[in-house]
């Protein structure tokens, strides 16, 4: 039995799972920072135009 597909498959799935687990919080951080920046902008605009 050729073991290569099992070795390649396990490392490929491992890499995908661990890569996604590492990248997901960075994507979320980007979205949160964008939301906060927008919130600050709205508040500053409201403060300057009461």
């Amino acid at each position: 039995m050729d073991h290569t597909p099992f070795i390649v498959g396990s490392y490929a799935i491992g890499a995908i799972v661990l890569l996604w687990t590492a990248v997901a919080p960075l994507i979320k951080k980007k979205a949160i920072v964008r939301d906060i920046a927008r919130l600050i902008q709205i508040e500053e605009r409201n403060d300057s135009n009461p």
Partner: protein
């Protein structure tokens, strides 16, 4: 007004205690841990490169398992990490439930997805190793089943935490579940001793007597250390993002966004 006892005053002046108190502040935690994350990633990448090179190009194939034994350089470190992540989550959950420290609560909750990822990797890699070695992808033996229960526990903690709107209440409920689920940890560890399982017993022992050859052992240890750094970097990143999300209306978060850090 009550007078402070000398012991309590002394304790409060202790630099270690003062540092732990400071670390409980979200702003301080965010800035302090941010310095470590790039280093953790760098160490993880270097150790993984060394470990993988050894595992694929230096270590000879096993005389019984053949080439498929190279999967164990992913499976075993991931399995150890899946247990350690739960231990860290349970300890943080215990501290969070007693002292109600929000940063520790967040650490406990952020440990769950990383631990779940390692459990998935353990199960998938183990299953793909089992097919050429045992002739089957899966058997309902005690070690495999208890590891699958660990995955369900992680998913339960994540699900419960996300099901309740109020984050502090959600964390308390999920911390309680995490603590109850800790009973599964000794079951996983001793399953190969308590029951007659297809999964082999431990080949590596801290107290000596490892049955694995040293040329095959040390890349495994390198990979095991590498995943600890991955876990550390990921846990701290997730905790910092969670703090930003929870404190989005607070001044320290606004300053971070304004400064673009």
């Amino acid at each position: 007004m009550t007078e402070k006892t000398p012991n309590k005053t002394k304790l409060r002046k202790n630099p270690v205690v003062l540092f732990i108190h400071k670390l409980g502040s979200p702003a301080y935690f965010y800035h302090f841990t941010g310095k470590f994350i790039p280093w953790f990633w760098a160490i993880f990448l270097v150790l993984t490169a060394i470990g993988m090179y050894q595992a694929f190009f230096v270590v000879p194939s096993d005389y019984q398992q053949g080439e498929s034994f190279r999967i164990l350089y992913l499976h075993v470190p991931a399995a150890w990490m899946s247990l350690l992540a739960y231990i860290i989550m349970a300890v943080c959950a215990f501290i969070a439930l007693i002292w109600r420290i929000r940063v520790v609560e967040i650490l406990a909750m952020c440990s769950a997805p990383v631990g779940a990822a390692f459990t998935v990797v353990t199960l998938v890699a183990g299953s793909l190793w089992g097919r050429p070695t045992w002739g089957t992808y899966w058997v309902w033996d005690a070690r495999l089943t208890s590891e699958l229960v660990l995955l369900f526990l992680y998913l339960g903690v994540i699900g419960l935490y996300n099901a309740i709107d109020e984050p502090r209440k959600a964390a308390r409920a999920a911390c309680l579940l995490a603590l109850v689920g800790a009973v599964n940890l000794p079951i996983i560890h001793y399953s190969v001793k308590w029951w007659n399982t297809l999964h082999q017993g431990s080949s590596i022992s801290l107290m000596g007597g490892s049955s694995i050859d040293s040329s095959m052992l040390w890349p495994l240890l390198v990979m095991s250390i590498a995943v600890k750094f991955y876990y550390g970097a990921n846990l701290l990143t997730r905790s910092r993002v969670k703090l930003l999300e929870q404190d989005l209306r607070k001044g320290w978060v606004r300053n971070i966004v304004r400064e673009g850090k």
